[in-house]
Symmetry: C2
Subunit: 475 residues, 2 copies
């Protein structure tokens, strides 16, 4: 304990010594580069380019799930908008994507008290066949509770998962709750169940079910799986509370079509003396189909494109290349970022620093990282340059997002300007993910924070060291 206190004292001393530097002085960054931070901040907080991008993407394209006509329209949109903004080296990279279609789905309680309930099939779910499924239901909290049931308990039944997601600013409630959606149907199928109904992985009391990918196992039957909203899950629990058998009817026409073609869309500002090194700004271009993908992930597309545009419009010439990569099909298997890593395998080491925006429209409230520990002081200096935004300092286990997984495994450092997720899971993966959920001021702040972080990442006079620790589990 005493040793720990001494360490804290030493750390506090170092912090004090470091903090005597004003925001425009730094032991690392050039004064001119810090002056440019001020320029970016002033311009960024008055710039609605990102707003116009998310407005345009949601209005002119809208839903764009992998393989759909909207997906192709989104690729054309992104290429056109990058051209309009004058990005350099614009190109598309072909990506083969799975093509699942939702069809329609219906759920009805047959007894004790007949009621219909709005549902969404989980992404990738098989359908029920034309006759649907009528079966008694078994209520369990989560996958652990399902695993603990006696053998045969769910055979020929529909399994209803009741666990409710917790609301948090950093979205950590999602990681805890999402296992039911990702693995619940596979587990239930392996136990002989006929179908699955989950309480949506959602923090809202609105009556919108949330979709999202489920993952079947090769060694278990694939059974249909749908989500109901929180108020319907509450109502279904009350039906169970009657003590009488709860019988459900499930119908869904979800199905897989042959794989389809999509594309990553890439554009950049070329670097000067260190142009071979790439600072990557990643965001996925696809969305789930029920909404128009404003928060998930029109906002991320707008933040990354808006940040690159902001740096360019300020007339800044970065030392390293800053690249925006809009990835195909994050939602149903991260096809685009996987293809990107495969195609850039020989040049993976050129990706010296990665950012991702895939958590709504902000504001940024914290700066997290996943850098070589020796370079944590550099992150601290970047945080000081962002002082007007009053960001918290996050830990050094940032994931960035799912599309950075591949490069992170190869050791790419990550900077994560963390977007406020308090309300994100009220709307995420629902029909209600619309432009009405994007706050223009929060979006401007987010673009500006990303631009400043990316700019300093590109100007860093040292070498971004590889990270050798394993990447933490995705938030």
């Amino acid at each position: 304990m005493r040793t720990f206190k001494s360490l804290l004292t030493a750390a506090a001393l170092i912090a004090t010594l470091t903090s005597v530097h004003a925001a425009d002085k730094s032991p690392t960054f050039a004064k001119a580069d810090l002056n440019s931070v001020r320029t970016l901040r002033e311009r960024g907080l008055a710039d609605d380019t990102a707003w116009r991008l998310v407005e345009s993407l949601t209005t002119e394209v809208g839903p764009r799930s992998a393989g759909s006509p909207g997906d192709a329209a989104a690729v054309a949109w992104a290429k056109r908008e990058m051209q309009r903004l004058g990005f350099a080296n614009i190109r598309t990279m072909a990506v083969t994507v799975p093509h699942w279609v939702r069809g329609e789905a219906q759920l009805a309680v047959l007894s004790p008290w007949p009621q219909p309930m709005p549902v969404l099939a989980l992404g990738g779910s098989v359908g029920t066949g034309a006759e649907g499924i009528d079966a008694d239901a078994v209520m369990v909290r989560d996958v652990a509770a399902l695993s603990a049931l006696p053998a045969g308990a769910v055979k020929d039944r529909i399994v209803f998962f009741t666990n409710r997601m917790e609301r948090t600013q950093d979205g950590s409630g999602y990681g805890k709750a999402v296992a039911v959606r990702a693995t619940g149907p596979a587990l239930a199928g392996s136990l002989g169940a006929l179908g699955v109904v989950i309480r949506s992985v959602s923090t809202s009391d609105d009556r919108f079910p949330h979709t999202g990918a489920t993952r079947y196992r090769d060694d278990a039957p694939r059974i249909p799986a749908v989500a109901i909203s929180n108020p319907d899950a509450d109502a279904l629990e009350r039906q169970f509370g009657s003590g009488k058998p709860v019988r459900l009817r499930l119908y869904s026409t979800s199905r897989d079509l042959p794989a389809a073609q999509s594309a990553n869309v890439i554009g950049e500002i070329s670097g000067s003396d260190r142009a071979a090194e790439i600072v990557l700004l990643g965001a996925h271009l696809d969305s789930w189909d029920p909404g128009v993908g404003a928060l998930d992930n029109g906002a991320g597309v707008a933040i990354t494109m808006g940040a690159l545009n902001l740096i360019q419009q300020a007339g800044l010439k970065p030392r390293r290349t800053i690249r925006v990569a809009l990835f195909a099909n994050e939602e149903f298997g991260t096809s685009g970022s996987r293809a990107y890593v495969a195609e850039n395998q020989a040049e993976a080491d050129r990706h010296v620093l990665g950012f991702e925006a895939d958590f709504g429209a902000g504001p940024v409230w914290r700066l997290s990282s996943r850098v070589n520990p020796a370079q944590l002081p550099v992150v601290d200096e970047m945080l000081r340059a962002l002082a007007p935004f009053k960001l918290a300092r996050g830990g050094n286990e940032a994931s960035g997002g799912a599309d950075l997984d591949g490069l992170a495994k190869l050791g790419m450092p990550i900077l994560s300007p963390d977007l406020d997720g308090t309300k994100y899971f009220d709307f995420h993966h629902t029909a209600d993910d619309t432009l009405a959920r994007v706050d223009p001021a929060a979006l401007r702040q987010s673009v500006t924070a990303y631009a400043i972080s990316a700019w300093l990442g590109a100007q860093y006079p040292g070498t971004w060291e590889k990270v050798t620790t394993p990447k933490a589990a995705r938030r």
Copy 2:
């Protein structure tokens, strides 16, 4: 002006003289009756009978539009619950109701930017036929703007009404906005349009369309009419903003079935020395079909039944009879209250005072009235008895609600404990009208305010005078 000021001064003087009476003293009400007010308040604010009623109605019955299986289930539920609560003279009164079924509806923007938009058919709308309707759209603000267009402007087109409802505590924004829904389709049909899309009469940015009745005219073609949510209406306006023709595809299987049987459900506490006089607590039992009718009008059912139960459980014996009437089919033509008036025509004058609860789950924030002006001081005394609730004094032009229209036309006085409508039109007539929207504390307060008002109305030592002024337009 001087005369007006003198009147004000005189009124203020009278108010001052009147207000020296403490809450438990009154020139009108007996001390014992005012003591009972305290009992009702203390018991009511601790009583969750109303909550359990709305929970039960929404869980065990759910959607209950006129003529549907849920409608019949609701009648059985109400009779059973009145029996369980020990109401007197429980009976049903047969009511013939129209039986419209929603079927399914779809809307898609075909150009300039293809997008689907969730819709709800307006109540009573005809369908499109299996082939649907493909047509260019004309955007207008409201009925007045449509009327002002040149002849032929909407012939063979779909008319899109854009007017947005204003949010207010008293719900007055609804009356201003609802004309588009009620009469817009009839007008558009008379002008040769093929269909109508309205911006929902809603204050919410959630992506829920709002349904509600439309009224066709006998002298104009009946054309299909649907509502889209506010965010979709915004998106559709942006499509018009492109300057290109906006083409829509509308599909709906809505249709009328033969008239069906439903019922009003009635129960009461019999009065003592003035039992022939009735204080009426009205609420409609039906709901629109997309939600489970928690706010509209499970809450009203629960408030009126909860208030009667509260008086009874407190052991109070009212002088006048206090009657709860749960009316069939308010939503699509007030069939139940019309039948009630027709059946009680000879006894209409026995209904000496009416209340209605049809505006959500509270809290009560104001006491309005429609009484003979000579009896306004009695209302002021009732307001004083409600002093702990800090209610505002409303005007003397209260409507009460649509189901009081018939009796009000015959001169029945109305007392209106006004329920807070600030958020009501976020959920009203949508799939999102669920139990999650009912706040137990607000509901308890509302029940208590209704019970106290009804109790004092039943104990009033004088005679409730008929009202001879015409009833104001419904809010």
